[in-house]
């Protein structure tokens, strides 16, 4: 993990939120706007450190709420709640498998809007809810699940192309070299 990866994740989150606010196509074709922040959080939780997860939760949530009618800060907690358990168990997750990324993306994309709605309803907000919300939730889950492996691929490509890789120390050490020679008996 390096600082470039953190910047890359934050830029991706910024562009994702802007895209969600300006692109009307998903809403017109599918009846729901997709949210790519949970998928990004899955990537960050599996590949980056704690500060990156915290920054993504705070800034991603802040940007989303700024462009939305949501109360400012309401989207921060759901993102953090998604990122933390994945980060804590990431050693047990086969993070390079697209299927694992797909499943985690689906769970995160389903949990994020559900938690946000729960918080909004707990705050006494009157929301636009109905049977159609169930369809919107399914669309968000499905698109989030499909998008997660692509996000992994895209971020890895960007990271390899633009970022620097930490120098790996070779196993070879001069002081441990075995001197071979014929010894005269």
């Amino acid at each position: 993990m390096n600082i470039f990866q953190t910047i890359l994740i934050l830029v991706a989150a910024f562009l994702a939120v802007f895209g969600e606010a300006t692109l009307a196509a998903p809403r017109q074709w599918l009846g729901a706007q997709v949210d790519l922040l949970p998928a990004l959080m899955v990537f960050a939780a599996l590949n980056a450190g704690l500060p990156t997860i915290a920054l993504l939760a705070v800034f991603g949530g802040l940007w989303f709420d700024t462009l939305s009618a949501n109360p400012l800060g309401i989207s921060i907690l759901p993102l953090a709640i998604i990122g933390w358990p994945i980060y804590l168990r990431r050693d047990l997750i086969l993070r390079d498998l697209p299927f694992a990324q797909f499943v985690l993306g689906a769970i995160a994309s389903a949990a994020a809007p559900a938690l946000t709605l729960l918080l909004l309803l707990s705050g006494g907000q009157y929301l636009l809810l109905g049977w159609g919300t169930l369809w919107q939730w399914l669309v968000m889950t499905a698109i989030g699940a499909v998008a997660t492996p692509f996000i992994f691929k895209l971020m890895d490509t960007c990271n390899r192309a633009l970022g620097y890789q930490p120098r790996v120390e070779p196993g070879f050490r001069l002081d441990r070299e075995i001197q071979r020679s014929r010894k005269k008996l």
Partner: protein, 267 residues
């Protein structure tokens, strides 16, 4: 695995969220304005990119086509001028009659064209942002319309942009009037989450005589929307709470799903 550092960072995030949620409304609005301004360069880029094809199309339009358009516009201009003369005469007559009957004078509303720059990324709100802000004289609760009918009201204002709560959003309730013999009145509330073209007209009298196709307009009550702005047509009606009152579904005239330009009404 569960180190203290993990809990510290989680605690910091929770603390930031709680602080933001407990800020007063004015501070939240200022913070939203500040954070929203980060997106301004992207808005500029998107606007320029959208304008480019139109500019290119204009530059390659043949002269004959341009002359034809000018001719059509001249003809339309003449028609509008003659209509304007008639309207001025009617307005004068209206003022005279109002003076005669000692009625309050109505002040004509001014219109300002605005471009829709953004939609709410959350599915549980129905709002858009327009490119007029407080520097253009915008303020909260101004009505927003299109040529087809009512769109919503301005719900919050920043320096360069304003948020419009659309008809059907939980934060935009409209007092409406059905154009029938009884002039039945009700309140427009949110419709379904999926279909943006249908909203609910509720609290209508149980004796309301509603028929599909009847026009619905703003009633002028509530002080936000002036009377007579077309909203839509009745689709169907049903009795609620064992005949206590009537609910109706209204199909909106304005297509809220593909809004590009809107008019803001200034008193």
């Amino acid at each position: 695995m569960f180190k203290q550092k993990n809990y510290l960072v989680l605690g910091a995030v929770v603390f930031v969220a709680i602080v933001l949620l407990s800020l007063p409304t004015s501070a939240t609005a200022r913070l939203k304005l500040a954070v929203g301004s980060w997106f301004l360069p992207l808005f500029g880029l998107t606007g320029a990119a959208q304008q480019l094809p139109a500019d290119l199309a204009d530059s390659v339009l043949p002269r004959r086509e341009l002359l034809k358009q000018i001719d059509n516009l001249r003809r339309e201009n003449q028609q509008l001028r003659s209509q304007s003369v008639q309207n001025t005469a009617i307005a004068r007559e209206n003022v005279q009659l109002r003076t005669l009957f000692n009625w309050q004078k109505t002040v004509p509303w001014k219109l300002k064209l605005a471009k829709v720059v953004m939609r709410d990324p959350a599915n549980w709100w129905r709002t858009v942002q327009i490119d007029l802000g407080s520097r253009d004289g915008m303020r909260e609760n101004l009505p927003v319309i299109t040529d087809d009918g009512l769109v919503g009201r301005v719900s919050s204002v920043s320096l360069t942009r304003s948020q419009v709560a659309l008809v059907g959003d939980p934060n935009c309730r409209v007092s409406a009037l059905v154009e029938n013999a009884a002039r039945d009145m009700g309140v427009l509330i949110a419709g379904g989450a999926l279909d943006t073209s249908l909203v609910e007209l509720t609290y209508l009298a149980s004796s309301a005589n509603l028929k599909p196709g009847q026009n619905v307009i703003t009633s002028g009550l509530g002080g936000v929307f002036p009377k007579g702005i077309p909203i839509g047509q009745i689709v169907d009606a049903r009795s609620i709470e064992y005949g206590l009152y009537t609910d109706a579904r209204v199909k909106l005239n304005a297509n809220l799903g593909s809004l590009e330009q809107v008019w803001v009404l200034f008193p």
